[in-house]
Subunit: 395 residues, 2 copies
């Protein structure tokens, strides 16, 4: 008999094949040397943090003898960090946010969990365009909610507005989008977002309560070819922005992000109070203090985006050369090409045989495609070309 809850036991069973793939990948690296395995499976930023992070850490070490430097703080975050972040977001989101309009959280993941905990009754639903970040489903189910994925149109991954509208039910509390998207790289345009907002507003009116539009935006800083990520707060009063500094500052392990509530939302204070409470009682208590200090000091810094720009070009060259069909990502550091032959798990296996590690689209609610993360050196990307070509030819 299992000691775990039925649901968690089932999660572990389902997860086992992914785990096996990672273990097999680690074995490959041990056997052939890590430089001979082309690992595109992980979105773990490999660029060093910007200089400002290092400076902030040195300054912090120098004043560590002052009592309470690393002590508890208000659950919503260090007042100075909240203030700085509010200024930063006011510029970014095109509406005026105050320090009281946001809660600093343990990454975007912690933020979404705190938000869902604050909102959900059992059976509440989250409508989400697919492909989507695979963890969203767990976040909803942690609090007896349920994710309702709605496929975007292949192969451009634009929103299927008709299908989204049809998926919104009286149990829908949240529509959750992620742009630039992991895994597709798609950045939703102002036009399609406006149409989405129209739908959500109409449905909210019909149902007599607001449906939240939640934007998870950790890749906002990383867009290409003058692509713009539109501000949802400027479009919709019930917009909530969740994000993290994992990618922009290369501090993914330190877990710093935030939930920002649209200052135009009439009930914003109640919602902020709720998230501050759930952030506490879920055991986060507050976002890690050192991460908050680094974030405040490095808020206007960023990893070198040109490196990602060059890698993106390299990956595009490699995929084109291999004859794989794909949409050029507008942002983020992922490609999501079509699996030749149509079966993402077969293609993943063929790639694995060539020592190329990717994640099948099935894991993102979008079979028939695979995800390649380009958080690896341009040299590795270029060198993978022959291996990917062989995998395609082997289908």
């Amino acid at each position: 008999m299992s000691l775990l809850s039925k649901q968690v036991g089932e999660y572990l069973e389902k997860a086992s094949w992914i785990r096996k793939m990672f273990e097999a990948g680690a074995e490959l690296k041990q056997q052939f040397g890590p430089e001979n395995v082309f690992d595109f499976s992980l979105g773990n930023p490999d660029l060093p943090p910007p200089r400002a992070v290092k400076t902030a850490l040195e300054e912090l070490a120098a004043r560590l003898d002052q009592p309470l430097t690393l002590g508890y703080m208000p659950n919503a975050g260090l007042p100075g960090a909240r203030k700085a972040l509010a200024g930063f977001l006011s510029r970014e989101q095109e509406v005026e946010l105050g320090p009281g309009d946001l809660v600093i959280t343990c990454g975007a993941a912690g933020g979404i969990n705190a938000l869902f905990r604050a909102l959900f009754e059992a059976g509440d639903q989250v409508v989400c365009p697919a492909p989507y970040f695979v963890e969203y489903g767990f976040y909803a189910e942690n609090f007896q909610g349920r994710l309702v994925p709605v496929k975007c149109k292949p192969i451009t991954f634009e929103l299927d507005l008709g299908a989204l509208e049809a998926a919104i039910s009286p149990r829908t509390r949240v529509v959750l989008i992620n742009s630039p998207n992991n895994p597709s790289g798609r950045v939703y345009s102002r036009e399609e977002l406006k149409k989405l907002v129209d739908i959500i507003q109409r449905k909210s009116l019909e149902q007599g309560r607001p449906i939240f539009l939640v934007a998870d935006e950790p890749y906002r800083f990383l867009v290409y070819d003058q692509v713009q990520v539109p501000s949802l707060m400027a479009m919709y009063d019930y917009a909530i922005v969740v994000s993290s500094f994992s990618k922009s500052l290369s501090i993914a392990g330190e877990r710093v992000g935030y939930v920002a509530v649209n200052p135009r939302m009439p009930e914003k204070q109640e919602l902020i109070n709720g998230i501050t409470l759930t952030n506490r009682i879920l055991g986060f208590v507050n976002a890690p203090v050192i991460g908050q200090i680094l974030m405040e000091k490095a808020l206007n810094s960023c990893v070198d985006q040109r490196v990602y720009q060059q890698r993106r070009q390299a990956m595009a060259d490699v995929l084109e050369e291999a004859g794989v069909e794909f949409s050029m990502p507008g942002g983020g550091f992922y490609f999501f090409p079509q699996a030749p032959g149509g079966d993402d798990q077969v293609f993943t296996r063929k790639l694995f045989e060539q020592k190329v590690l990717v994640v099948p689209g099935t894991g993102f609610g979008y079979p028939g495609f695979v995800r390649l993360a380009f958080c690896v050196s341009e040299e590795i990307i270029r060198r993978s070309g022959q291996a990917i070509k062989r995998a395609v030819q082997g289908i």
Copy 2:
């Protein structure tokens, strides 16, 4: 109409009087100067972190240019930190733990939440001696569980074993103890813990499944007068130890703790896999990386316990002089004296009028007593004597 879930809305309503008290305390400080307010309400360690923490932070800053230094890691924690912690716990808990027997978590609070998420079906119960850390109730309810408090015997706060036995039902998954106890300062003796284990073993047998004994031990490092905190792992196969470095290293804001599973538990691997997964999907992902690095380097260090020892004596003198009845705390940094007149909220108000801030025992499931935290200078403690005396005389 509230935007929040019914439960979270109710939490906020109930919390409001505590919040008002804190706000009133902050106002007092602003009006009379913080040095003229005797704030014993918060358990926020005011001693600077030990030297090793500072050194570790300096070393980290120096190697920050290396990619992935602050990147993602295995969800259970940095391999080196897990290994060091396993060695540390093997000495402390008197059983041999390996790195795979523990998960590094976002404080003890994050650890308990990950554990409950892994175990609970709706309606599962946590039996817990009162007084207890007030957040436990929320942690259980986050995952549809319920806390079942069982009062300890006044005024020594020894376990009421008969009442604990009677409280264990077929829905009991966990018995949760906290020793040294917040707020009572009580350290449970080996003898009473052995009796408790006997009861839990018998009940587990009756019910055909193991009941976990979970020990939350963040104050283990801080005991007085040669008091010993017995190892539960040596006593019971289904013991789980949860703790944090918030107090021992004065890094409460950075959120580093752990869940350690008894290596003698037959299903330990399943449980560790479950907690590793729930730690991820609850949005912690992994404990903050900088905190993990500091913890590993400072594992054998500790804040200066003699300072707490002296403050404890000062607080005992003050309370005795004021004619308040109390048990001398065996560990931790709290006193939990009886409220003269019997009403903790009246006494709290009387103290407040004298600019002395405490927390009423009602908040810890134990009315009739109040909690004083001695995380403040000895001088403030001594100076509070007259004010406390006046409050007692005013009852």
